[in-house]
Symmetry: C2
Subunit: 499 residues, 2 copies
């Protein structure tokens, strides 16, 4: 092996160990840590982040990366590793270590502050922290601004290589033009689907059991993964043999935990199938938030909300909740789980109104970074946009601007990934339908060929290829939002017998 590369990897191993520790602290904070622990634990997190940072961003590493950029005895994975490190380096090298540590300590505390503010439905309690986070993000982006690049574009590109607000403006324009009128048509017929069955009392212990079954059914491997509970469902991983998902149970809403569980399983299955050779390295994880989200949406929506998927397993759910589901047919259930019922809450949104939630966040993030909008004005702006696009306003901040944890974690430029993910999922599904009998597989309860195709064409590569490279190698075409528009239009036209 290349000597310099070997040396570099020794350093990177250490960096990855800090990253794993930080991931575990984050997981723990969401799933198990005591209420009052974070004040002191944030000090530990600050120190580990500082070590992470200084071990990655330093002249030694820079020299090695530069040297290796010119060498050609590296294999495919090694080249991808160097490219990836170079990108991380460019992201971080101009941030002073002390600032980075202070920022990490801030965001470690912020999720607690956000969560308490949400409970109290009071944006004012979170605003000063959010403002601090935004100021850091602006400062960090300003260190990296080059000619022709705007700060928000830099953040967008961090989450999805090759994407900027120009591309996304166009992307969201298409969605806006197609989805808003479609949603209006659908809204007129909303009442034709009776979904009251979903809001009966469903014992949580049974939901737990069914969700665990479902995760396993779609392919989440419980030898290499666990499921826990948290306020906001998420997936994380230490490596490909340690993948963790959470869900959240609501006694009066059967669907909520079911589709969270399938969704997070999609994320989990991606991480579980990263190649052993690259796990515990910087490229040993999903290539982008958008591609990650495509896998969770693929399982949740394209597969998980289809009649074929439920055909073999709906009887099991009915058996479990005999009383509650005794009058619900499979056909009725499929209409129910696909019912468009625009709500204030993104994570509870149906597939059709979902991209509008993202559109709103995208527009607000752009305003924050490009128009210097005041933090205190954000709830007003938020509420106005909901009124405009969805015809409804939140009753309070907890179902408005405080609903998502992302900004508390400093994740700006992340939200668009959700819409990109849906679009990728629709595109992949459309292609896979053309090369294999997906529907038949689902009816047979045989998800293996579907999952294996994704394993072999997406998952195993980790971050050694970016989104468009993966798509191109798979179907000879880059991301194209038209598939998504077509998918939504056809699906909802059929479901609601429009036109």
């Amino acid at each position: 092996m290349n000597k310099t590369y070997e040396q570099l990897m020794k350093r990177i191993e250490k960096v990855m160990a800090y990253q794993a520790a930080l991931t575990l602290f984050e997981w723990d904070a969401e799933t198990g840590a005591p209420e009052e622990s974070m004040e002191y634990t944030s000090k530990t997190i600050g120190i580990l982040s500082h070590e992470y940072f200084t071990n990655l961003i330093n002249d030694d590493v820079k020299k090695m990366i530069t040297k290796l950029g010119d060498e050609d005895d590296l294999d495919f994975n090694q080249k991808a590793m160097i490219k990836n490190l170079k990108k991380q380096f460019e992201q971080m090298e101009h941030i002073p270590p002390a600032e980075y540590q202070a920022y990490e300590e801030l965001t470690a505390k912020a999720s607690g502050i956000w969560s308490r503010a949400k409970q109290k439905k009071s944006f004012a309690d979170f605003a000063p922290t959010l403002e601090e986070i935004i100021n850091y993000q602006k400062k960090f982006a300003s260190y990296r601004v080059k000619k022709d690049k705007k700060p928000y574009d830099i953040l967008l590109n961090d989450f999805e290589e090759g994407f900027d607000s120009e591309k996304l403006d166009e992307f969201f324009k298409k969605i806006k033009e197609a989805v808003i009128p479609l949603l209006k048509e659908v809204s007129k017929k909303n009442d034709t689907v009776d979904k009251s069955y979903n809001y009966q009392k469903f014992e949580i212990e049974k939901q737990r059991e069914f969700c665990k079954y479902l995760c396993g059914y779609v392919g989440f491997d419980f030898n290499k993964g666990v499921i826990a509970e948290s306020a906001h469902p998420f997936t994380t991983n230490l490596h490909n043999h340690d993948v963790r998902i959470t869900t959240h149970y609501n006694e009066n809403n059967l669907e909520s935990s079911i589709f969270s569980a399938i969704h997070e399983s999609g994320h989990g299955i991606y991480e579980m199938h990263i190649d052993d050779v690259i796990t515990q390295t910087p490229v040993g994880t999903g290539t982008s938030m958008g591609m990650h989200e495509s896998q969770s949406r693929f399982f949740e929506n394209m597969i998980g909300r289809s009649e074929a998927f439920w055909t073999p397993i709906f009887p099991k759910l009915k058996e479990m909740y005999k009383e509650q589901l005794k009058d619900v047919t499979l056909e009725h259930f499929i209409k129910g789980i696909n019912k468009s019922a625009p709500s204030m809450i993104r994570t509870e949104a149906d597939e059709l109104s979902y991209p509008l939630h993202i559109l709103i966040r995208y527009e607000i993030e752009k305003m924050i970074f490009e128009e210097d909008v005041k933090v205190e004005d954000l709830p007003k702006i938020w509420n106005k946009k909901y009124e405009e696009y969805m015809g409804m306003e939140p009753e309070d901040d907890s179902e408005g601007i405080l609903q998502d944890i992302h900004w508390a974690g400093g994740s700006f430029g992340y939200f668009p990934s959700y819409a990109i993910g849906s679009a990728i999922a629709a595109q992949i599904y459309s292609y896979m339908e053309s090369i294999m009998p997906i529907e038949q597989y689902l009816k047979d309860g045989n998800l293996t060929p579907i999952r294996e195709y994704l394993n072999n064409h997406i998952h195993k590569f980790g971050a050694t290829k970016n989104t468009n490279e993966l798509l191109k190698d798979m179907m000879d075409e880059e991301l194209n939002a038209d598939y998504y528009i077509k998918y939504l239009t056809e699906k909802y036209t059929k479901l609601y017998n429009l036109y």
Copy 2:
């Protein structure tokens, strides 16, 4: 503040951050991590251990410690800190970092190997790993052997400052002479206590609820702590605001989880009341395993098995298990929870036979380190000693030599702490009875004055005073096993109407 001290503390902060991360990985491995995660995670743990080690054990730190040892502008806590670091330094400075890292990776994997071997009841599956661990421990001890000191004495002193096998031989001799004949007398009357009520079916969900209530009742603060489940109950902590205990539920044994929960709460209460000023520093934890165990035993046995303790809360337990406990009176219950019924399993042992379990482990550890006994012969030796001291032999390795996790973690010299802890607890209880109306407090359901006394005389000091210093400052007497013998003799004579 002293400049050198300040510098040193900057370094130590980093060391403590690694320690916190390692603690979290350990907690996670026992309570949440996926089955197959450890193979890769052990690499992370190895790296973090290496960082922990090299940041603590190096010439810079040594120079600072040496310099500070001679300075006299340090306050009480600072002096204790330097003394503590000096001790840690002496423990570790001669171990080559690569060996330490390899050893840490080994023990990270060992608990999984032990647990699978235990499940398979096959010592042979664990023996090679155990042998490796023992060899490391011998090697590490050999680096530190000075004149007049034997390797096992070095290990004993690590767990309890000032203790060696000479002192412990004497300590265990007293116990052997008193407990073996007492146990024989008691055995003759074992049948007079009917404890069948304890082995009915007790719904685990209710046990969970009752245990959580009990932990809170004795003073475990759930804002600064959590309770989880693990195969073997234990306590750990990241700092004084993050203390974690586990218990283990057995559907057919009511007592098992209850007394584990009280026991671990005792450990937890100790860690929760370490002074804020010293938490997240090397002296910000319990001073020794023995003193720690004294706190858990104090709550579990002296308090938790007394009639006064159960007087106000037994009705609640009866209410919870109406059917199962309907014929059980408080008096009957107290006899039941104190029934001497020697068993093969240490953690399920009654108070009287308990020290014999420890005696056996102590004698075997001595043989391992002083007589070079072969690992493969250990089960035979184990079984013979159980036959000799307790009149019974284990049916298989899982209830024999594989029952405890300690050796898989490399903890040799630890077991005696359990007996020392019981002895300290009896001594403290005897003293406290003479200065406050403990029994009345318990009957009134008012544990606060008892807990506060321990907080102020033991807990808050962390490791700034050692066991004998704490005892001396409290009652003007060092550890004296006679209180323990007297306590056991009086308690069991009364319970069984002996003589």
